[in-house]
């Protein structure tokens, strides 16, 4: 088992400058799939593009791979423009959502495909393929055919096939969406482990925010062909710059409030009959006294007030639903005509079940609240 | 959308019902026939009959050989009640196979014995000699001499230029075959056939098709019946005829009543049979073709009566009896020499 990648394996960085890709829909309207998209990905970095379907993330990937020709803009690899390099010369293998394993070739031949194309001598191919099989834990399966193996195994073959050619950059197009949950989690870790080990520059596309959060060095949140926000997982999670991002990453609850007053270090926000004091840096955008704002509250920022506990930032609500999820319990609480999600880690000692329609008292940590201007 | 569909389908059903009724109604008061006359001739003949008798004739046009085979296959349940036209040899075969019935009638009184069956099964409506028919323009274009004898036809210069029908299907072609046998004797005849075959690129099913092909220039020389050729000439086609020097064969076009034909047609069929030998029928034969019927009617200009032609001694009974054997032999000779 190799513990690091071989020396002859060079990775590259990726730079996209103002890439635009449009198409005409059925009615003839011009749709911007990718709109003035610029991004820099450093060597060895794991970058994820996330967003809802139709946001353009897959199109960006395909432009990078050379499957789509951008209307304008440049794609540079290692500082050099690759716009005019055809797809088959870019050396950026992609792991497809459908795995795209060649059904008429054995696992061995599938993995060896890229090497054969590059006219690598037979004995080296054998060596490399066997090493790959070890790496992805598929030793002994080389003579099977794709339809004979499971989805998870197919996924690993697709991965092996991409890695064996020692790519400078590797691309992933929602590779885990066809797997069941447990397998997804396992494979996610596998991919990350390998990426760490080999240090390949990776661009990963997914609509699953959990995947993005757990695997990436940097996350790019996309909306309608544009970048909403780029940042590390922590930044994106804790400091979303827009309601959209906050809504997309993590199960943020939104509660309306009014700016009562602006002070030096914090802002007073009126929610129903309570005033919440929130640190100023958690506000985004230009806000003034009297503005209506949306407060983004993560479920874990809310706690249940134990009897006898005092907390100025408290409010009461009615329990509508309880979801038992093993390590955590999730509640839907009605407050101010909004349903709020509350997540509590399981406390073995403290009784945490509530009857339906029971009124409970909750407290919220103001440092975990983001303020967004309401449009 | 639903309404459109329903209207559409109702209309369809109505159209369909109309068609159905029409087809069913037309099938009473009729005679069903096989005919080996040319289709336009047959139509004219039957139209005339329909006019005079009020009976509708449903017919299928088949070459002589085809007709005999079909009648034979249908013998347990004959589809037609009469076979009108076709080379006499075929009618003899039909009789020998028990497919026809005797119909003694005064209508055939005027015919010479050799032009009718002694047991009253079939009788002749006209006789026609075989000739060479050639396209004058094509002949000149290819700089070929006019063939004057059967022997001439085997000359290598005529390769690809001659056409006749398949004796298995066509009574005309079988007539040609028996003529050749009668002239050369059986063994030499098949040597002749082998040689002739080299000059023939294909054999048609219908006996008169080669003649028509020659008329329009699709082929240079055809062997067929004189009256067909004369019709083309009178229509203005660049066709000419030549009677072979050694003598030629001839057909007796005949009519037979079919045994056990459709029950409700027997009387009607008899009417048609008797009518076939009469003057008004003869007039139609004359007007439509250049055939020379056995009834005395004014002939078409250019028609050639059989008496004016050098014919060979023809034994139709023998020809009928030996047909299977000779045709089989012909097939073998022709196909094996094709592989050369």
């Amino acid at each position: 088992m190799p513990t690091q990648k071989s020396d002859d394996w060079e990775v590259a960085d990726l730079d996209l400058k103002n890439v635009v890709k449009t198409y005409h829909d059925r009615r003839g309207n011009l749709i911007h799939a990718v709109n003035n998209f610029s991004l820099k990905i450093g060597k060895g970095e794991f970058t994820t593009l996330v967003g809802p379907s139709g946001c353009g993330k897959t199109t960006v990937l395909r432009v990078i791979a050379g499957f789509e020709i951008p209307d304008s803009g440049e794609v540079l690899m290692g500082g050099k423009s690759i716009n005019s390099i055809p797809a088959f010369n870019r050396n950026m293998p992609m792991v497809f959502q459908s795995y795209a394993l060649f059904p008429h070739l054995s696992i061995y031949d599938n993995i060896a495909y890229g090497l054969k194309i590059r006219k690598v001598p037979g004995n080296i191919i054998k060596n490399d393929v066997e090493m790959m099989l070890q790496l992805v834990n598929l030793v002994g399966m080389e003579n099977r055919y794709p339809k004979e193996i499971s989805g998870g195994q197919q996924q690993r073959v697709a991965l092996a096939r991409a890695l064996v050619i020692k790519p400078k950059i590797i691309l992933f197009d929602e590779p885990l969406s066809n797997l069941d949950v447990k397998l997804r989690l396992q494979t996610r870790m596998e991919i990350k482990r390998l990426q760490n080990l080999l240090g390949i520059t990776t661009l990963y596309v997914t609509h699953d925010q959990e995947e993005a959060l757990s695997m990436s060095d940097s996350i790019v949140v996309m909306k309608k062909g544009k970048i909403e926000q780029i940042g590390s997982p922590e930044t994106i999670y804790h400091h979303p710059k827009s309601v959209f991002v906050a809504d997309f990453i993590g199960n943020t609850n939104f509660v309306e409030g009014t700016i009562e007053s602006l002070l030096d270090n914090h802002i007073n926000i009126q929610v129903k009959d309570k005033i919440l004091k929130i640190p100023k840096q958690q506000a985004t955008g230009d806000i003034n006294q009297g503005d209506t704002v949306l407060l983004g509250i993560k479920p874990e920022a809310i706690s249940i007030l134990k009897p006898g506990e005092r907390n100025p930032n408290n409010f009461s609500g009615t329990v509508r639903h309880t979801y038992f999820r093993g390590t955590i319990t999730e509640f839907e609480v009605e407050f101010n005509n909004t349903l709020i999600n509350v997540i509590l880690p399981k406390d073995v000692d403290f009784q945490q079940s509530f009857a339906r329609n029971e009124r409970i008292c909750l407290s919220v940590n103001p440092r975990a609240i983001n303020i967004f201007k309401k449009h | 959308m639903r309404l459109k569909h329903t209207i559409f389908f109702i209309t369809l059903s109505l159209v369909f019902l109309l068609l159905m009724f029409d087809s069913v109604l037309a099938r009473s008061k009729r005679v069903t026939a096989y005919t080996s006359l040319h289709e336009p001739v047959a139509r004219a003949v039957f139209n005339q009959f329909e006019k005079e008798s009020g009976l509708k004739v449903f017919f299928v046009r088949l070459s002589t050989g085809e007709a005999v085979s079909k009648l034979d296959a249908e013998r347990l349940n004959p589809q037609v009640s009469i076979w009108f036209g076709g080379v006499g040899i075929g009618h003899i075969r039909a009789k020998n196979k028990g497919l026809s019935v005797a119909n003694p009638t005064t209508a055939t009184k005027h015919l010479e014995p050799k032009y009718k069956d002694k047991d009253h099964h079939w009788a002749g409506i006209y006789a026609a000699p075989l000739v060479f028919e050639y396209n004058t323009i094509m002949l000149k274009r290819y700089a070929l001499p006019i063939p004057v004898s059967w022997r001439d036809l085997t000359k290598s210069e005529y390769k690809g230029h001659i056409q006749m029908a398949n004796p298995g299907f066509s009574g005309t072609a079988y007539n040609i075959l028996t003529t050749i046998v009668e002239i050369f004797g059986e063994t030499s005849a098949f040597k002749y056939i082998q040689a002739l075959n080299r000059n023939i690129p294909m054999y048609s099913r219908s006996g008169s098709a080669p003649g028509k092909r020659a008329a329009i220039g699709e082929v240079t020389i055809a062997i067929g019946y004189a009256h067909d050729a004369v019709k083309f000439i009178s229509d203005g086609f660049p066709l000419a005829i030549q009677f072979p020097a050694e003598g030629t064969g001839y057909e007796i076009a005949a009519v037979s009543l079919i045994k056990n034909g459709p029950k409700d047609e027997t009387e009607n069929a008899k009417k048609l049979y008797n009518w076939a030998f009469g003057k008004s029928a003869a007039k139609v034969y004359v007007s439509q073709s250049f055939a020379v019927p056995f009834v005395n009617v004014p002939l078409a200009k250019g028609a050639i009566p059989i008496s004016e032609v050098k014919t060979v001694e023809q034994d139709d009974e023998w020809a009928a009896k030996n047909r299977s054997r000779l045709v089989e032999k012909w097939h073998n000779v022709v196909t094996s020499s094709q592989s050369e």
Partner: protein, 566 residues
């Protein structure tokens, strides 16, 4: 199979039998279907084989000995095989190029080309032979007038190759375009992604995956060439082929046993190749329908090939158009090559003399079509959704007719239904039966394809709620499969209108068919009339096709690939 599984098998059959007995309607249905199939599919087959093996009343192999020894039959057999191989090969190549162009290359007006390709399938089976004479015969427009080529012999092997290839490659096209479209676009993209250039991608991915389709196409065209009747009859010349020989032996020579023997000989390759293609090759197919319509946006061929392929498609389409246009033109010309005056006389003839025939043809096709399709759908429903003993046998027997050449069917029907108590010859019923049982596979295939898309759960939930099978079928299944029903009906109608090789044995003075009439006219050199009738026939078909096109699912064209003969 061990003894244990044998007894299990019979136990299962007993259970299914018991269940069957509980639903009386279904039981009656199954029994009558089995009876009909036995009578109209197996019995004629049996009669034909019997006649060939018992020419003189007792078992004798003389018929086959003669056939396999006599020169003229051996030549016919080898000719047929040679012709089949050449046509299948050429046809598959053309079909593949055409299919590749239409599925992988972007250019405007694709619908026109698709229409062009479908045209030969819905036309009378010998239409190309007819126009070949017009264009390339002695007085042919191209040979004589335009190019001044003398003595180009359209008759025989050359002419047949041209004509059969043009009329049969569309079958291959349907299969291959289906397969090429079904290939996951990601696979080709992926190959490129891994470094394979365009040609490499083609040879390592596209071509291997298309290979089962290529085989299927080759086999189907081969079978169609073998069983082709109309073209060799018109253009055969001195190139005898097996299909025509059967007719010749029977009609020309009156030799029933030998005709039967030849029909049986023709049966053997067609049925076995059919089984080969269907049951063996299908298993090797690698196409899995992913259901996801992924984009195929990458250019997969170089500029040069792009242009060449488009040019090729235009060329082929142009050739096909010329053939059709010449027939249309020829129908208005007094005498092609001799007398160029325009005339309507041929059409007058068609609607005067030919009117009864036109009516008969349309009437019978119209009656037969709904019967055939309903029958087929019922069988499909029973086979897909129900179990009962003998189910598989029924499915096989029903589909068997697909593979039996029309000549054998016509021959078999003619000799089987010729006497009491089954006296059908000369009536419309024999033609109807022939249509129904020859074309019922269309309805079955369509039905099965449709039912496989309609989830079994839907039917099961209906039954679960208390509805009997009949009600489920009528109110749930039937509306969902209506589009397939209409596709099947359209194709069945087309087949009934253009059938020749079986029909020629079964027409009579009372009931005629346009195709046999056209053939007779061609034989008798009444070419103008033949062209006019052909135009009328094609128009009727095109109109019905156009009308129903709106109602049917175009994906059903793959069904057509299975019906290889006229």
């Amino acid at each position: 199979m061990t003894t244990l599984s044998f007894s299990n098998y019979f136990k299962n059959q007993k259970i299914t039998l018991k269940r069957l007995l509980n639903e009386p309607l279904q039981l009656i249905l199954v029994l009558s279907i089995i009876f009909c199939l036995g009578l109209f599919v197996l019995y004629p087959l049996y009669s034909t084989i019997k006649v060939s093996l018992m020419p003189n009343g007792h078992f004798d192999l003389i018929v086959y000995k003669t056939i396999l020894n006599q020169q003229r039959f051996k030549i016919a057999i080898s000719n047929s095989i040679l012709l089949g191989i050449v046509v299948a090969t050429l046809g598959t190549i053309i079909a593949f190029l055409f299919a590749y162009t239409l599925t992988r290359i972007q250019f405007p007006g694709k619908h026109f080309f698709k229409g062009m390709v479908i045209l030969p399938i819905i036309s009378p089976p010998f239409i190309f032979a007819l126009s070949a004479v017009l264009l390339l015969g002695r007085n042919g427009l191209l040979t004589q007038q335009l190019l001044g080529i003398e003595n180009f012999n359209i008759y025989g092997f050359k002419g047949l190759v041209i004509v059969q290839t043009l009329s049969m490659f569309p079958i291959g096209f349907l299969i291959l375009s289906g397969i090429l479209q079904a290939i996951d676009p990601d696979l080709e993209t992926c190959a490129m992604n891994l470094g394979a250039k365009r040609w490499k991608t083609f040879t390592t991915v596209t071509f291997p995956l298309a290979l089962p389709g290529l085989w299927a196409s080759w086999l189907l065209i081969f079978v169609q060439s073998l069983t082709d009747f109309g073209n060799p009859l018109i253009l055969g010349g001195d190139f005898p082929v097996l299909s025509v020989q059967t007719y010749l032996e029977f009609v020309g020579m009156g030799n029933l046993p030998r005709g039967a023997g030849l029909a049986v000989l023709l049966l053997v390759p067609t049925v076995s190749l059919f089984i080969l293609q269907r049951y063996i090759l299908r298993k090797k197919s690698f196409i899995t329908v992913t259901g996801k319509s992924t984009r195929r946006s990458i250019v997969s061929v170089s500029q040069l090939i792009h242009v060449l392929l488009i040019f090729f498609s235009i060329l082929i389409s142009a050739i096909i158009s010329i053939f059709y246009i010449s027939i249309f033109a020829g129908s208005f010309i007094k005498l092609w090559g001799i007398n160029w005056t325009l005339t309507f006389s041929h059409y007058i003839y068609a609607f005067d003399v030919g009117l009864q025939t036109i009516k008969d043809t349309v009437l019978l096709a119209t009656i037969a079509t709904p019967i055939t399709v309903i029958f087929g759908m019922v069988i499909a429903f029973l086979v897909v959704r129900k179990s009962f003993p003998g189910k598989n046998l029924m499915a096989i027997a029903a589909v068997l007719m697909f593979s039996i050449p029309g000549t054998a069917v016509g021959f078999g029907y003619m000799i089987s239904f010729n006497q009491e108590p089954l006296l059908l010859t000369g009536t419309m019923y024999i033609l109807l039966a022939c249509y129904v049982f020859r074309y019922v596979p269309i309805g079955i295939e369509s039905g099965m394809a449709a039912l496989s898309q309609v989830s079994k759960d839907i039917g099961e939930s209906s039954t679960n709620l208390g509805a009997s099978s009949a009600i489920t079928f009528r109110s749930i299944t039937l509306p969902l499969i209506t589009p397939s029903f209409i596709s099947a009906a359209t194709f069945t109608f087309v087949k009934c209108m253009t059938g020749l090789s079986a029909v020629i044995f079964l027409v009579s003075a009372s009931w005629k068919h346009m195709t046999t009439l056209i053939l007779a006219q061609t034989e008798n050199m009444l070419l103008g009339q033949a062209y006019a009738m052909s135009v009328v026939l094609t128009l009727i078909i095109l109109i019905s096709f156009a009308v129903f096109k709106n109602f049917m699912t175009l994906g059903q064209t793959s069904v057509f690939g299975g019906i290889s003969h006229d």
